[in-house]
Symmetry: C3
Subunit: 345 residues, 3 copies
């Protein structure tokens, strides 16, 4: 058993009346567990190797607690101690390798690894995750199978309570699972579990971060970070701005934002940006848009499709308000940029 393993975590979750998992909450997921820890756990839960999720009873959790105390793993001992008293379904998920997930508990563990900042977006294999995540009614009384909802809502009403449904989705909101350190998220309904929210990031009310997407570090996010998009250190997304995702519409290029960029309010981004780029408020830059490239004298040096400027740094995109022309200014490197553009033509 002493081969390196990808991850493990103890969790507690919800099932529907048919005994199918709806979701799992892992308070302390572990990346690359130490071999001694893994071996100790394997013995107690009868883990046979591979990627597996094993349901836990109170007795096993108590044995785990004792072992964690011996190993001076205080946080894990706390988790085991609290969960051994619970009557909810409890599980340990052990991933030998970072293969595509094959069960709901595995899928939830991978989403936790992202939101706990243990792996970065695109840093774990999420292939096929949609089909492993059941659609769930996320309610004031926890996760409920939509099939079971009507009866629950009527019963609650008859008793004078409201069973409020906050979301009906395959992904829960991140903050009901983890609030990573050093962040503010004004409206948590808009950040999915599986988002990677860098320390120092503020997500304002209009901000949004999908799963497998996020921010490297300090950022002010008032726009939408689509699935797969990573925003570099120090970059800000203005109110209501859009980053084109790869899930629906758009193109197949993964959009990203470099460091210290500024995307204006109500603007949009259809190409990956380098560092220190600016997109003017209200301007939607799609890959196919033709752009006049200006030098530092504001002289036109080229006309290219925006997609050809992908990943380049120090660019400012704006629409000339008198001619309607989409312009790209560059303060630092107009001549190099021009050479570079034509070099790969």
């Amino acid at each position: 058993m002493s081969t390196p393993h990808f991850s493990l975590a103890i969790g507690v979750g919800s099932k529907n009346r048919n005994g199918q998992w709806l979701e799992v909450f892992y308070p302390r997921p572990i990346l690359n567990p130490a071999p001694a820890l893994l071996d100790g756990i394997a013995r107690l839960v009868d883990y046979q190797g591979g990627n597996e999720c094993i349901e836990l009873d109170s007795k096993t959790l108590h044995a785990l607690e004792d072992m964690f105390i011996d190993m001076k793993q205080d946080e894990l001992a706390d988790v085991a101690s609290i969960l051994e008293e619970s009557d909810r379904p409890r599980v340990i998920t052990i991933l030998a390798t970072d293969e595509a997930p094959t069960s709901t508990p595995e899928a939830y563990l991978k989403l936790h690894l992202l939101s706990h900042r243990l792996v970065k977006p695109h840093g774990t294999n999420l292939a096929g995750i949609f089909s492993l995540l059941p659609n769930v009614a996320w309610t004031s009384e926890g996760a409920i199978d939509p099939e079971e909802l009507p009866e629950r809502q009527l019963l609650a009403r008859a008793l004078g309570r409201i069973l409020s449904v906050h979301s009906v989705d395959k992904f829960p909101k991140m903050t009901d699972y983890v609030v990573p350190g050093g962040v503010r998220i004004a409206d948590t309904a808009r950040v999915r579990l599986g988002a990677y929210v860098g320390e120092g990031t503020t997500v304002m009310h209009e901000g949004f971060i999908n799963f497998n997407a996020g921010t490297e570090g300090t950022s002010m996010i008032e726009g939408r970070v689509s699935a797969g998009v990573m925003v570099g250190e120090g970059s800000d997304l203005g109110g209501g701005c859009s980053t084109m995702g790869t899930l629906s519409g758009g193109n197949s290029v993964v959009i990203g934002v470099g460091d210290n960029c500024l995307i204006g309010a109500n603007a949009g981004l259809g190409i990956p940006l380098g560092d220190r780029c600016i997109i003017e408020a209200g301007l939607y830059l799609t890959a196919g848009s033709k752009v006049q490239v200006l030098d530092d004298q504001r002289k036109v040096i080229d006309v290219v499709k925006a997609g050809e400027l992908s990943g380049k740094s120090d660019l400012l995109f704006r629409r000339n308000s008198l001619t309607g022309t989409l312009e790209c200014l560059t303060n630092k490197s107009a001549i190099e940029l021009n050479n570079e553009l034509h070099a790969h033509n």
Copy 2:
């Protein structure tokens, strides 16, 4: 009594301290009830005809339950059975005809019919509905009259609870009343009761659907479906896009979207679209905008106001990024379109 009736439903709701209805929840509304069912109910609740809402006590609900069991109406029997134990205000609303509603319970029934997909947007008479819907504080403890809220909030606080107010509005969120089958709604605060959400629709976090509006079938809704707007089968609304409503601003034309359309992120729509139309991301198309119509050789064949293109199919709208001109391309039928435009001039 054996004339055809429009609708009936048994519900449970909330009143303020003055005994005025705040809202009604109807778990199983019925469109065009069978005459035998209606007659049986009429006898038990002393219904005299017309559009009426009649409060129910536990004894009457018990009698209704027995009758529903005899009629093998299991779902209705369940509703009656659960509500006969309740101490909340219970009501049966019977609509002989689809006239304009005249009470809060009638108004709520019509909103339910829409969200249960029993009638389509514009398919039931909602005239005057705003004045029948009281403004309500929708809270973690249910519907509260805003006048009664300050005392309730202070009392909750003194007891160490938080009485959280999720919305102050005439319309509640749909999902606290019904979650129709086959949908995902990432942030339910953004879909009002009275929305018609077609099976297969996903409403993402930035999506919004007003009452008397919705989607025919499979759609990805990441933009705003204003009151009165219907989105056809297979059409997608990109993140943050806008459809102009008729309630405030805009024009009096009802906006709609045909089948298999794509409205880009942060775009906007001020005219009704036919099928297979595309609006480029970031482009707001108002009815009064002048548009260059291009043929499949990209030659300008006409300049018209966008409103003249209302309802036509196979159009692509974009802003030329070098000239700033709003262009309409059409792959299939440029010549026919041109003829058609000038035919009605």
Copy 3:
């Protein structure tokens, strides 16, 4: 003690485990308290003058209740009566002057004064308020220090409850503290405590109002009112529109909107507007944008930066959909406007 005082309020709040204030709820804040009331309170709570917050025990609250009854201050007597039974931290905050706040209870009082419409945006000194507002997890079980959240969430889960985190922010949502009269707020997560929401205002689902910002009176707010921005009587903000704030990006000019303006859906505003101005849907007007000014014959009379049109009335901004030129039309006063523009050049 009989000098005029700025404000006082009795509140109840939350502290973290270290005894630090997280937030304070003041049900009935008072601006410019009557000297007799202030003097009576000062004696009972041992107030020595200046800006101070003094914790209250049940005995003192009972004495305050008796005094309020004697003074026929029924609302204050109710507050004291309810809070004397509470085991939560209670406080009276007295502000002799409107200086910059120096504690969390003082900061919260100032935010309450705004949302109770006792002072207008920019009408109270908020200097340094960010550092006085701790970052709080706003949950279904009240305000929680983010440090204490993981354990609370795990315990709740083990017991089969969900401890849902609605927001992680320095500012709470306004409606958990006060719902001012005559407003609708469809999604309360989008209006911060410290917003000033004028009577007759509807904030739709896409609307947003930051602290120290708001509406004078009747308005339909479907866009974003940034910190510091005030919207005049009768002005509407279309869906998804943006008003440039002064906190991040943008310029240092405080943006405001005059009376009876209309900002179109997905539009944006980077200059202060006078009265009766219109910005076309989808148009982002930044201060640096060059604008063609047209007279009532649609003849170009000038080209200026939009910033030079700051605060002027009766302007309509649009982008010419054939030329891409940003145009400013004025129905009433083209000649006067022209003279005025050149007078200050």
